[in-house]
């Protein structure tokens, strides 16, 4: 018994303490979501009652079109992360496999530019998009397309780095053999490289999805119309000012629903995520 504890038992204890730390805020959100009173002051760590009122209120609310926000967020996050994935894997392929003039400068510039947080330039972005809204309303304020393009501006940053690191570990002999067999560069990319980089695609796609779902500040400037908001902007408004206490139950319910797609993707890709993250970073 003591030997078991010395070797394994204490590990369970330590991990359980950390698990408690990791889970207690989530448990609080869960209790608040099923709390029939739905206010912050009445919310406790453990559920004090059980009802689905908060969920019903959330979807029935006219002031807070939650379903619409949810759709906007998932749509923007999915399409922006898919497009940014494609853009960055294309660039990573060129940087990893091809030798051309300006390659080194290109890689370093990329590294430098992506360190500038896009929203520091929010004033400039605001002025630019005021003009765009006049010329091309479809890509202007209060719409998803302009915001999506804006998010793609940062697509070439960290993702490309992560993917280039991964691509470097794939033996070059593979594409050389294909080239000898007469494959074009496009065929090598789509048929040979892309299937091999699935783990890192899963990871970067996941990271891009999470960060787009949570992006608050640019979306907050960009989307004013209640119908066009994303979850981050809309839910922030839900517990701003007077609604802070009264709407807390609805807010907690909304938080749980927002987590569902992410947790789902997460569990599905868990295996890839661990090996992808590290193999992208490991440098021999």
């Amino acid at each position: 018994m003591t030997r078991w504890f010395k070797q394994v038992g204490w590990r369970h204890l330590v991990v359980l303490v950390v698990v408690a730390f990791a889970l207690f805020p989530i448990l609080f959100v869960f209790s608040a979501a099923i709390n029939p009173l739905g206010t912050l002051t009445s919310s406790q760590l453990l559920p004090t009652g059980a009802s689905l009122d908060n969920f019903a209120n959330l979807f029935g609310s006219v002031t807070y079109p939650f379903a619409r926000w949810f759709f906007n967020s998932v749509f923007i996050a999915l399409s922006a992360s898919f497009a940014s994935l494609l853009l960055s894997v294309l660039a990573a392929y060129a940087f990893s496999r091809m030798r051309f003039r300006g390659r080194r400068v290109g890689v370093l510039t990329l590294l430098l530019v992506q360190m500038f947080p896009q929203f520091l330039a929010i004033v400039a972005i605001f002025i630019i998009f005021t003009k765009v809204t006049e010329l091309y309303p479809a890509f202007g304020f209060n719409g998803v397309w302009g915001l999506m393009l804006l998010y793609l501006g940062g697509a070439l940053g960290g993702n490309t780095w992560l993917m280039k690191g991964f691509l470097d570990t794939i033996p070059k002999e593979l594409d050389e053999a294909a080239r000898v067999d007469g494959a074009t560069h496009a065929q090598i990319f789509w048929r040979i490289i892309l299937p091999l980089v699935t783990p890192i695609l899963a990871v970067t796609g996941m990271l891009a999805f999470i960060s787009t779902m949570s992006e608050f500040i640019i979306a907050n400037v960009f989307l004013r119309d209640p119908e066009s908001k994303t979850l981050a902007v809309g839910m922030f408004g839900m517990i701003a000012g007077d609604g802070r206490n009264a709407n807390f139950g609805m807010f907690a319910a909304a938080t749980l629903i927002t987590a569902v797609p992410t947790v789902g993707v997460f569990l599905w890709l868990q295996k890839y995520i661990v090996c992808g993250l590290t193999s992208g970073a490991v440098k021999s």
């Binding site: 609080f28 294309l90 360190m115 330039a121 690191g165 990319f189 979850l231 992410t262 661990v274």
Partner: protein, 498 residues
């Protein structure tokens, strides 16, 4: 096949983006559009430039939505752009003159009905004496036959015009008060939303002396081209100014103005502490748990792993707001559970502790994930060999495992530092930079440079875009410097040279 697709895309871009530019006469933009689409078409139709084919799509987005705004920000840093300095000199003069319009005794008084024609705001003016309706625009007055006047004296119906309801008009309040209609003996301005008067500008601009004179008092403000203001002999200036190039004044202000530089260094120091503490605590906790789970006889690792990753999968913005409410003094969960009455976010020390704790909660699952992966990549033979050679567990960890881990994880740690250095959400959604000292509501105890900058630019006081941009440039330079140095040290550069 691919040729047809390329030509299709190119022509679609031209067809969509071209007409509005032609309509507004933006010839430079049209030329740029033409050249860019031409280059794209040529690039993908030719058999050469293979690397460019892969790099151009992302580069275009990078240039337009990342590099261009950065360049724009940097040029803004050299101007006094902000409240009072938004437009050019012409706009400033127009605003000064129209703001100083005062009713001349005995001048006509009008009933005002704001309306829209083709989306543009116009005034429908009813002369209160003769009940005749005229249309007032920025170009002048024209009679409007066929308008019906309601009982209240407002215009009820006018063919070709959309009459604004009172709430709609209230929404366009600033636009309505800004519109001035030239009239024979002066200017017509709105007085509220339902009345208008004819008056004369008291302050007038005189190009000969490049100055503004007040007709009544005779005071005179001379244009100061270096500050973008009209200044009177005693040094006081009019509120309306214009945008001018101020050179390095904004940068100098960050470093030399005692009211700013004192804060700047303090904020900078806390910013460093916050970023380092966030990375260090979450790395230590994440690695600690990963090491604890990393044992061949450990059972249930899968379920532990899922539980530990959950915070990372929760929406971060929402959980930050939840944590904010958990730290609330009166009805927060933490005081409630611990039986305390601490004003967590109201005291500098506890507020700083709280935001680092929250950031630890958000950040350690990621560190746990990557540490787990990196641990699995270290061959067990290495640690076993060290054990056989008589090394203790601690010694094996310090001499074998940790160095190998750091080689793998240091790029991620640097990225994490750069991210947390500018972690706007972590502060804005919890403390909003507070608590603020009573004597200076400008800088709070948990303010990062970035939240401070954001408040300068968009805050409740007057917007100082130029100054905020200068601080942005400082932040950028610092983060770039730190990252460049550390990347060099971790030999990341070798990959670039390869």
């Amino acid at each position: 096949m691919s040729r047809i697709a390329v030509l299709g895309v190119v022509s679609a871009i031209l067809l969509y983006a071209g007409p509005p530019l032609i309509a507004t006469g933006a010839w430079v933009a049209l030329a740029v559009l033409g050249v860019v689409t031409g280059v794209i078409g040529y690039l993908y139709l030719s058999r050469r430039f293979i690397p460019a084919k892969y790099l151009v799509p992302g580069t275009i987005f990078l240039l337009v939505f990342q590099v261009f705004p950065i360049v724009y920000t940097m040029t803004t840093a050299f101007t006094n752009f902000g409240d009072g300095h938004r437009g050019d000199k012409q706009a400033a003069i127009a605003a000064i003159e129209s703001d100083s319009v005062r009713q001349v005794p005995g001048s006509p008084d009008y009933g005002l009905t704001p309306a829209l024609k083709g989306g543009k705001l116009v005034f429908l003016l009813t002369d209160t004496k003769i009940k005749q309706v005229q249309v007032g625009t920025a170009d002048g007055l024209t009679p409007l036959p066929g308008a019906k006047i309601g009982i209240s004296g407002k215009v009820a119906q006018a063919p070709g015009y959309t009459i604004l309801t009172t709430p709609q008009a209230a929404e366009r309040g600033p636009e309505i008060s800004a519109l001035s209609v030239p009239a024979p003996n002066g200017t017509i301005k709105a007085n509220g939303l339902s009345r208008a008067f004819e008056g004369r500008a008291q302050k007038t601009y005189d190009a000969a002396c490049d100055c503004v004179t007040d007709a009544e008092t005779g005071r005179r403000w001379v244009a100061d081209g270096s500050r973008g203001f009209f200044v009177d002999p005693s040094g006081r200036h009019l509120i309306q100014g214009w945008q001018v190039d101020v050179g390095f004044a904004n940068f100098a202000r960050v470093l030399t103005d005692p009211a700013i530089s004192g804060y700047f260094l303090g904020v900078f120091a806390w910013n460093m502490v916050f970023a380092l503490a966030s990375v260090a605590t979450s790395f230590v906790l994440g690695l600690g748990v990963a090491l604890t789970l990393h044992h061949p006889r450990m059972r249930g690792t899968r379920i532990y792993r899922v539980a530990l990753i959950l915070p990372y999968a929760m929406p971060a913005f929402a959980m930050l707001l939840v944590w904010r409410d958990m730290f609330n003094r009166d009805f927060g969960l933490i005081n409630h559970m611990l039986g305390l009455n601490l004003d967590w976010l109201g005291e500098p020390t506890t507020a700083r502790f709280a935001v680092i704790l929250v950031n630890l909660w958000l950040g350690f699952p990621y560190m746990f994930l990557v540490a787990t992966g990196a641990l699995q990549a270290i061959p067990r033979e290495l640690t076993e060999a060290a054990g056989i050679d008589g090394a203790s567990m601690v010694c094996t960890f310090r001499k074998v495992t940790l160095p190998l881990l750091l080689v793998a994880l240091s790029p991620l740690l640097i990225c994490s530092f750069a991210f947390n250095f500018n972690n706007f959400n972590a502060i804005q959604l919890t403390t909003q930079g507070g608590p603020f000292p009573a004597d200076s509501p400008q800088v709070g105890a948990t303010d990062l440079l970035i939240t401070y900058t954001f408040r300068l630019a968009f805050g409740t006081g007057s917007a100082q875009f130029g100054f905020a941009a200068a601080i942005s440039v400082f932040i950028f330079a610092f983060v770039a410097l730190v990252s460049a140095i550390t990347f060099r040290q971790t030999h990341r550069q070798e990959e670039v040279h390869a």
